[in-house]
Amino acid sequence: MSEEKHHISSYTSHFLVLGALLLLTAVSVAVTSLEMGKYDTLVAMLIAGTKAAIVLTWFMHLRFDNKIYAIFTVAVIVLFLLVLYITFFDYSYR
């Protein structure tokens, strides 16, 4: 076991991250009442995506850990988006 320095996140940083996540949740619920037609889902997914990025970066410590985890995570997300894109490409032109 290597006794390398571990990054210790402060309580303050955890509170700030939580605050940001709760704020985005409030925004997400609030914008639901706006009539944005087909952009509804896009906006909701953008907010959810931002929340997910915050959780991954700070709570899941990707910012401070070995970069390989962040690279793998991005690769998995790209793979998923690619599958989503290919599936819809198929469905849209049937």
Binding site: S2, S9, F15, V29, D40, A44, I47, V55, Y91
Partner: protein, 206 residues
């Protein structure tokens, strides 16, 4: 993941390897839920109105409440790691107690939410549901499967938290050996991560 070349009597530890293993598991989980989200996307694309009406049947208040408490529990578990790293056992146990409590509350809310729907006759294969359109059947089918698999993850999380709390109490997890707590935290954040997407896709469509 470094090679242990010295022959010592102490138990072999590989925290980095443990963490890598946890992340690999998380990736398989992301793909598992990813495929469910893919199914959701295709069915919603083909049944937009039914999904919209189905979403309106769900209680936005319960959904928002569960989102908020789950986010708070993610923060408390992250803080418990800070506490253990600083050698503050009591604070770590208290924070994990809060996390555990929230996990139970989340499931209790799910019980009431599902209970009300089932009482209303809305459950997979029910007569009331089968009389409705194909799209509605798909929406509620996905609702039960996806929030159900998520709820099973919460249940497993509760088991992990109980184990970790006992390990801290018996000093098996302490300020220089806390990978179990770290990995349990990662697992819990994953559960939160999935809910972050389930919430708007089921409760906030209108």
């Amino acid at each position: 993941m470094e090679k242990n070349t010295e022959h010592t009597t102490h138990v072999h530890r590989d925290d980095e390897g443990d963490k890598l293993g946890m992340w690999l598991f998380i990736f398989t989980e992301l793909l598992l839920f990813g495929m469910l989200f893919l199914i959701y996307a295709v069915y919603r694309f083909r049944n937009p109105v039914a999904f919209q009406l189905g979403g309106e049947e769900l209680d936005v208040f319960i959904g928002t409440f569960n989102t908020v408490i789950l986010l708070i529990s993610s923060a408390t578990v992250a803080m418990s790691i800070t506490a253990i790293q600083r050698g503050n056992k009591k604070q770590a146990l208290m924070l994990l107690g809060v996390t555990l409590f929230i996990a139970v509350v989340f499931l209790v809310n799910k019980y009431f939410e599902w209970g009300a729907k089932i009482e209303y006759g809305f459950y997979p294969g029910s007569e009331a549901l089968m009389e409705l359109g194909h799209g509605t059947i798909l929406f509620f089918g996905l609702y039960y499967v996806m929030s159900g698999i998520h709820a099973i993850h919460i249940l497993i999380g509760i088991g992990l938290f109980i184990y970790v709390v006992r390990q801290i109490q018996t000093e098996k997890i302490h300020s220089t050996d806390y990978i179990w707590l770290e990995n349990t935290g990662l697992y819990w954040h994953l559960v939160d991560l999935i809910w972050i997407f389930l919430f708007p896709l089921f409760y906030l469509i209108h």
